[in-house]
């Protein structure tokens, strides 16, 4: 399986967009990161309920088991395509507490509307 790191840059719409892709190495993982592995499949994310700590960097490792999905976490201006055979790493630092919804934003079939989850940021 390929391993990709997505560098995100702020664009005019406020979202972080893919800027470039390089092959990741073990040294890319920071010691203090909260690493969350999320698997997308029709029509769910596993896990679908995630808790992280405010101010501590988060690394999301996103993969798809079946088809092209999307991952959108609007509150933190994150969206990426999630495709089979590729692990996409997304880093961000949660700067506010609360429970925020993420969802698939690539239409993937009859259960697409229900394909979502939550990320809870605590102190």
């Amino acid at each position: 399986m390929k391993r990709l790191v997505i560098f995100l840059v702020a664009a005019s719409d406020g979202y972080l967009h893919q800027q470039s892709i390089i092959r990741s190495t073990a040294q890319d993982v920071r010691r203090d990161e909260q690493i969350i592995r999320i698997t997308a499949s029709s029509f769910e994310f596993k896990p679908s309920e995630i808790t992280v700590r405010k101010g501590v960097p988060v690394l999301l490792e996103l993969t798809s088991k079946d088809r092209h999905h999307g991952f959108k976490l609007a509150e933190f201006h994150i969206r990426v395509d999630v495709k089979p055979g590729v692990t996409e790493d997304v880093r961000f630092v949660p700067n506010k507490t609360g429970t925020f919804t993420f969802f698939c934003d690539v239409f993937c079939g009859d259960g697409h509307e229900d394909m979502s989850g939550t990320i809870t940021v605590v102190e």
């Binding site: 719409d13 092209h68 999307g70 959108k72 609007a74 395509d81 919804t101 969802f103 934003d105 690539v106 239409f107 993937c108 079939g109 009859d110 697409h112 509307e113 979502s116």
Partner: protein, 297 residues
């Protein structure tokens, strides 16, 4: 929607001289539309989701579309044409079932008295195969047509499953707009909202801002769309956007809950929130009067 809100919105929209809508259910369909040489009307139906099965959401899923067709056929004055703004069928992974549903839908709407019928896809029709089956049954995914001095532009924001119009179609739109005057009467027909109505509910077009920026060069543009299963009216600058009801299920108001969900069928108020609309084009004034028509059980 109350009459008070209707009047307020009517004034708001009339104030910018772009579009006027009239929402009401008491007027008999087609009866109040005054014909003159530069006016005409058409009917917009949307989100019929043929093939959907959910007794708690719509126990008459096999009959609602047929009732709407009968409703259009019963209008005192027949429209010049009918448009379906996407999600003609309920999505399925099964290629054969998808085509079966499209064939059944096409057969049902062939009973419309009006024979000029314009289609466009919704994500349920076209996102899983990038419009392959849709094109077999209904033709191009995006196109233009002209009617009595109004230039209609049908935009596809669904066959790309990421909900984007795409650079190629955007260039096509730019080229098309160069062919008409800056003050041409333009109606854009599409499925998803072109503006960010509720992105967390997937009620947006990824590159909708680029589409709107392109349309802003023209002074008389109105957008009619579907997708959100309810009447909704919004302005982006001088461009008016009007969403239509569904003919299968209703959805809650934008952003009114963390997650959107279908509104269950209420036996006390069957077909509530479902319907189609008449759109009367007053070409000279560049105005469009919208009359919502409920489905009758």
């Amino acid at each position: 929607m109350t009459d008070i809100i209707n009047r307020r919105d009517l004034l708001k929209l009339a104030g910018v001289g772009v579009a006027v809508f009239v929402s009401g259910t008491r007027a008999r369909a087609g009866s109040s539309l005054q014909k003159d040489t530069e006016s005409f009307y058409f009917v917009q139906l949307s989100d019929t989701h043929w093939g959907f099965n959910g007794p708690n959401i719509n126990p008459d899923s096999q009959g609602t579309l047929k009732k709407a067709v009968a409703g259009v056929n019963s209008l005192d004055e027949q429209p010049d044409f009918v448009v379906f703004t996407g999600d003609l069928t309920q999505t399925t992974d099964d290629r054969k079932v998808r085509r079966d549903r499209m064939a059944e839908f096409r057969d049902i709407v062939s009973h419309l008295k009006v024979k000029t019928v314009r289609f466009m896809p919704g994500e349920h029709d076209a996102s899983l195969d990038r419009g392959e089956a849709y094109q077999e049954f209904f033709g191009d995914l995006h196109y233009t047509f002209d009617h009595n001095g109004v230039h209609f532009i049908v935009l596809d924001n669904v066959s790309d499953p990421t909900a984007a119009v795409g650079e190629k179609q955007l260039q096509w739109l730019q080229s098309d707009l160069k062919q008409v005057s800056d003050d041409a009467r333009i109606v854009v027909l599409t499925h998803r909202p072109l503006f960010d109505l509720a992105p967390d509910w997937d009620w947006a077009t990824r590159d909708g801002a680029a589409v709107i920026n392109t349309l802003m060069t023209h002074s008389n543009v109105t957008v009619l769309y579907g997708h959100i299963h309810q009447e909704h009216h919004h302005m982006t600058g001088h461009i008016a956007h009007h969403a239509a009801k569904s003919l299968m299920w209703a959805l809650p108001e934008p952003g009114s809950a963390p997650r959107k969900s279908q509104i269950p069928w209420n036996p006390a108020e069957p077909y509530k929130g479902l319907g189609f609309r008449n759109v009367a084009a007053r070409v000279r004034q560049a105005r469009y009067e919208i009359e919502e028509i409920p489905v009758k059980g």
